[in-house]
């Protein structure tokens, strides 16, 4: 057991956290134990190196691309993924959430499944779950060295089976577009394609591309999947207490989006943000983080700051009123240069003023959660949900639900 370090500064207020995320001399520290997946990955870079890669990758995260995903690609993925579970009348939300979001994350990352079989998707699912263990190693309760060994082996196998064929197809597409054989609009818009398109500028070794795409895959699948399960849990409880809102969940995607934002506020994917101070940093509040010290941003507390979210900050309330300039999801997506690149894709655009629902982006979690309620999702009274014992993070390990009309 390692000795507790004294060189840690912890902040719990919203204003200090927002200030800290914008400080350029505070470097990412959350993934230090997960280097097997996270070394040289975008979210772990700093300064010029980070800016250079983020500028390139942001080209895959434009709102017109999100529109394509939300209105065209994802509805079909939801239909296909849900069909067998609707037929069975039941499903485990934890598994379904990851399976559903993996289908989208694979599109975003640029990982193909040419066979299109359930077995192929199952193998990609297993690899992704392994990569999630890598990114969250800091909070693992298992033997971490053993985990690292398994994750590295899985990464190499995934590279051969999924990544290298996906790279070959994209190189071919880029070459065909350059030769004028196909229009550029037919070249995929995913992160892998973008990295290959700008590879001369970025000069990334294959191992870095491997970890980067593994990270996009795991991050896209895992954060949205956990939000999916937690949102359904919160909404079920809300409707139990407020049956007058049951119809809104079925009919009003803006209400569901508000529920998603409130869920994400109360349940950040990681309960803390962490940074290393590269020089002495003093926040506006006067809090000082000396050079070499670690800053811990207690997101669970920050997102329940009563100064910002009011005296009921710890409660789930989709009608909560917020001060101007405060996101309804708190700081769960981080802030500053490392703000989540897929935020608008997952949680949609924050509505302001009159919303044109034909153009508004509600987010993929909103779409998936509302679809579950339209399929009659409800807790299974014979199988209560259980927490995941393999991590100190508050994840559901299993959450059985029933679908279809109740008997």
């Amino acid at each position: 057991m390692s000795a507790p370090t004294l060189d840690v500064v912890t902040i719990v207020s919203f204003a200090e956290a927002r200030d800290a995320y914008r400080q350029k001399d505070l470097r990412q520290a959350l993934y230090d134990e997960g280097e097997v997946i996270m070394a040289d990955v975008l979210v772990n870079l700093h300064g010029d190196e980070h800016r250079r890669r983020r500028r390139v990758e942001n080209r895959s995260f434009r709102r017109e691309t999100f529109d394509l995903y939300e209105r065209h690609l994802f509805p079909a993925a939801i239909e296909q993924t849900l069909a067998p579970y609707i037929a069975a009348g039941k499903v485990d939300l934890v598994h379904l959430g990851h399976e559903l979001m993996l289908n989208l994350a694979a599109l975003t990352a640029g990982v193909d499944r040419p066979q299109g079989t359930a077995e192929e998707t199952s193998r990609l699912y297993d690899y992704t779950m392994l990569f999630i263990e890598g990114a969250t190693l800091a909070h693992s309760t298992k033997d971490k060295d053993e985990q690292r060994k398994c994750i590295l082996e899985g990464l190499v196998q995934w590279d051969q089976e999924f990544l290298q064929p996906s790279i070959s197809r994209r190189r071919q597409a880029l070459a065909s577009a350059a030769a004028g054989e196909i229009p550029d609009s037919e070249v995929p818009k995913d992160v892998l394609t973008t990295l290959l398109r700008y590879e001369d500028e970025l000069e990334l070794p294959h191992e870095v591309i491997r970890r980067e795409i593994a990270f996009v895959l795991l991050a896209g699948a895992h954060t949205s999947a956990t939000a999916f399960v937690r949102a359904i849990d919160h909404i079920l409880s809300w409707v139990d207490a407020h049956p007058e809102d049951a119809h809104k969940v079925l009919e009003d995607p803006l209400f569901v989006q508000r529920c998603i934002h409130e869920t994400v506020r109360l349940n950040p994917s990681s309960p803390v943000g962490q940074r290393w101070a590269l020089s002495d940093v003093t926040l506006k509040s006067g809090v000082r983080i000396p050079k070499g010290h670690k800053l811990v941003i207690d997101l669970a507390a920050v997102n329940r700051d009563p100064e910002v979210f009011g005296p009921t900050a710890a409660d789930f309330d989709p009608y909560r009123e917020l001060p101007q300039g405060v996101g309804p999801f708190g700081l769960s997506f981080g802030g500053g240069m490392h703000v989540c690149i897929g935020q608008d894709l997952a949680a949609g655009v924050v509505p302001s003023g009159d919303v044109d629902t034909d153009k508004h982006l509600f987010g993929l979690v909103t779409s998936a959660v509302q679809r579950m309620f339209n399929e009659g999702v409800r807790r299974n009274p014979e199988q209560p949900p259980q927490w995941d014992a393999n991590t100190a993070r508050p994840y559901w390990g299993t959450y059985p639900v029933l679908l279809g009309a109740s008997a």
Binding site: R18, D19, R22, H50, R51, R54, R55, N58, R59, F61, R62, R63, K284, Q324, G325, G335, G336, M337, H338, V339, I341, V349, S352
Partner: protein
């Protein structure tokens, strides 16, 4: 006179959020970095402030009619 706006291209990370939030005020240049279409955009100050606050890299600066920098943090 409304706020005037500028973008520090050395700091911009090309998130495109300003262009998506305020397409009449910002555009991406040939390197996909943000730039104001006009230094005095035809938008309310509150809207420009919200756009500047939403910039992940803090690349957008606002100046008020007295020539003072506006705190966007």
């Amino acid at each position: 006179m409304p706020y005037t706006v500028s973008v520090d291209k050395d700091v911009c990370i090309s998130s495109g959020k300003c262009v998506a939030d305020a397409p009449t005020a910002f555009r991406l240049d040939d390197d996909e970095l943000s730039e104001p279409i006009d230094p005095s955009p035809p938008l309310p100050d509150a809207t420009l402030l919200a756009v500047a606050r939403n910039c992940p890299s803090g690349a957008i600066a606002l100046v008020d009619e007295q020539g003072q920098s506006v705190d966007v943090d």
